[in-house]
């Protein structure tokens, strides 16, 4: 009982312990705030990076004949991993898009809309939401196939539903072809590359290009796009695709041109930059926690030095060395626990009101803390993961205990006679 009693009384009566708790709280607030902002930022950029891009893309672009039986391939690819949500089929072709008042270069993407809406992310940003098929639409007496245009073009050229776009492209023979489409909707790609495109019906465009029924890309959608074994899934997909190429009579060289990329590899450097930044900041915060342990070491070193006579008195009353050790470690636990609780409350408060605080500082001091246009967001995005709360909780308590351990051990090993003779 004395362990708890002494630890609590020392905690209450020593201002330095409150200072230690406050310091721990500050570190917890900083850790969670910085990590939450980084996670929010990472999520934001990952969302942009991933966008409507499939989680893995199987390309056979160099196979002149493309994928002859894409539906069959899709079914077989689906069986490669139980985590595959679905496989969609694409036929991409670079094209010049000609609008009423402008022309630009982009991509014409042939897709199976029903399959895409079922498995892909197109439906998340599709406008209007109720588009189910491309269909055929009459404009000025002409029957035009429908297409869904990227948001970047909509914004740049003031496009509207019911408008028209003409694509100029080449077929498999290299002959120039053009075809007009009726705009039936828009999608947001979240990044400019994906948005400078239009979705059209794959089978229609395959006929136009001269590869009827075929596809050149399979898009694999996973239940968990961030799964840690993404590369393993990629390798399995690659192996399966090569097997399919072999079965269709492709040469060994052609097997090698099959490309299977995960969404992370599509923009590898950017992805690495974001994840490295996140990791580096965690290491820096880890150094802060190590510093915290050092501060606890200094504080408890001083506490033990001040309490030598009390330690002697307690030993004379029958306290064991282990009990003395427990007194100081319990005190460290209280200090760490109090700091952690205060820090968690402070962190949640800061994270919740972060944008308000930033706005207040910006207005008061006329400092542009968060240039939203640079980040492609109008406010600071935060994401507090339960795992980060758990990590900071465990590390904080661990730092407090590890910092206090050596001084506490010294206290436990003090000779009681020397303690009682201590001036």
């Amino acid at each position: 009982m004395y362990i708890l009693s002494v630890a609590l009384r020392h905690l209450r009566s020593r201002s330095i312990t409150w200072v230690a708790s406050a310091m721990i709280a500050v570190v917890v607030v900083l850790y969670l705030l910085i990590i939450s902002v980084l996670e929010g930022s990472k999520q934001h950029w990952m969302d942009k990076l991933q966008s409507i891009m499939a989680h893995a893309t199987i390309g056979v672009g160099e196979l002149a004949w493309g994928i002859q039986k894409p539906e069959q391939w899709a079914d077989e690819i689906q069986k490669v991993d139980p985590g595959i949500r679905g496989v969609t089929i694409g036929l991409e072709s670079p094209a010049m898009a000609i609008f009423d008042n402008a022309r630009t270069v982009g991509t014409m993407r042939g897709i199976d809309l029903e399959r895409e809406l079922k498995h892909g992310r197109l439906k998340e940003t599709l406008f209007p939401k109720d588009i189910k098929e491309f269909g055929v639409h009459e404009q000025d007496g002409r029957k035009l196939p429908g297409c869904i245009v990227g948001g970047a073009w909509r914004r740049s050229y003031g496009l509207k539903i019911g408008g028209r776009v003409t694509f100029l492209f080449s077929d498999e023979e290299g002959e120039a072809r053009s075809r007009a489409f009726a705009i039936i909707g828009f999608f947001e790609g979240k990044n400019p590359y994906l948005e400078t495109a239009a979705y059209v019906d794959r089978k229609y465009i395959a006929d136009l290009i001269g590869v009827p029924g075929r596809a050149k890309t399979l898009y694999v959608w996973l239940n968990e796009p961030n799964r840690p074994d993404l590369k393993k899934v990629r390798d399995n997909l690659r192996e399966k695709t090569r097997e399919l190429v072999r079965r269709e009579g492709g040469s060994p060289r052609l097997e090698e041109v099959v490309s299977v990329d995960t969404w992370q590899e599509k923009d590898n450097k950017f992805y690495l930059a974001i994840t490295s930044e996140n990791r580096m900041m965690r290491i820096i915060m880890g150094i802060f926690l190590a510093l915290l342990a050092f501060i606890m070491f200094l504080i408890f070193g001083r506490l033990v030095a001040e309490k030598v006579r009390d330690i002697g008195a307690l030993r004379a009353m029958g306290a064991t060395p282990r009990g003395i050790l427990a007194c100081f470690l319990t005190q460290a636990l209280f200090i760490g626990g109090l700091g952690l609780i205060a820090g968690l409350i402070g962190a949640f408060f800061m994270i919740h009101y972060l944008n308000g605080i930033v706005d207040f500082i910006a207005q008061t001091f006329r400092i542009d803390i968060f240039p939203g246009e640079a980040f492609g967001a109008d406010r600071i995005l935060t994401l507090t993961l339960p795992s980060d709360i758990l990590i900071i909780s465990v590390l904080t308590i661990f730092s407090a205990l590890i910092g206090a351990y050596l001084p506490a051990m010294r206290a436990a090993r003090l000779n009681p006679v020397e303690c009682l003779r201590h001036e």
Binding site: M1, S13, D310, A316
Partner: protein
């Protein structure tokens, strides 16, 4: 000796054979041929050389000698705060030499009370909490919760016995005499069989010192506690049942 059942019966296996031999009280604390050396650089100083002493229930023994003669060293050895280089300390029939530090702490808690010249009260705790501290050392949380009322009653009674009134005060606000009363009450909290007093009146005025010693003699007589008082005060030595003098590490019985 106090015939009532002890408030804290020991779970410790104690030999019973020597008790009440020849109708005489068995010593509750003994030092047998104890030697204690200290190193002064390369020189070996023998502070205690073959000291033997027995403390009997209900007896007050005064330990006198010049400063540096080894009185406090002997008291620390008897209180199991230190270990002899040779010889043995026997607490209520249990040789303490080979016991672990944990077992020695247990014996110290249950059998021995200390009163120090410099009080050694815990400054963050109130008078009452200081008196209760040995009981807190003896108890885990569960036992403390179950027996808190009993201990509180005991502490309050002890405080009244030694003449303390301001139980919620911190030691810093007390006079020297009051602090020593707290120290005495604390030492008696678990009804120890032995009370070891290291110059308990050394920092007190004569009147207060007399009151404190009156209390110690009275408690020894009524509760059967064996008391060893290290003192320079001849008045205390004259009142004691026996007087031991330490001189150059050797113990002589004067009375």
């Amino acid at each position: 000796m106090n015939s009532a059942a002890p408030a804290h019966p020991s779970p410790y296996p104690l030999p019973q054979g020597e008790r009440e031999k020849n109708g005489k009280s068995k010593p509750v604390l003994r030092a047998e041929n104890v030697h204690r050396y200290f190193m002064d650089g390369a020189r070996k100083l023998e502070v205690l050389s073959g000291v033997s002493v027995s403390l009997n229930p209900g007896e007050v023994t005064a330990l006198v000698g010049r400063s540096g003669s080894g009185k406090s060293t002997l008291l620390h050895l008897l209180g199991l705060l230190d270990r002899p280089d040779e010889g043995e300390i026997i607490v209520d029939g249990t040789p303490a030499g080979k016991l672990s530090e944990s077992d020695r702490s247990f014996l110290r808690n249950r059998f021995i009370g200390f009163v120090f010249q410099h009080y050694f009260l815990l400054p963050e705790f109130s008078v009452l909490d200081n008196i209760l501290m040995p009981a807190k050392v003896a108890c885990g949380i569960g036992r403390w919760v179950a027996q808190k009322e009993k201990y509180l009653a005991r502490a309050t009674e002890l405080a009244r016995t030694v003449g303390l009134e301001r139980l919620t005060q911190r030691p810093a606000t007390l006079s020297g005499g009051e602090r020593q009363r707290v120290g005495l009450a604390r030492a008696l909290m678990l009804e120890p069989k032995v009370l070891l007093c290291d110059e308990p009146t050394g920092n007190l005025d004569p009147e207060t010192a007399r009151h404190i010693m009156d209390l110690i003699f009275e408690l020894s007589r009524t509760q059967g506690t064996a008391v060893l008082v290290v003192t320079h005060d001849q008045g205390i030595a004259q009142r004691a049942g026996s007087v031991l003098r330490l001189d150059h590490g050797a113990l002589n019985t004067e009375k």
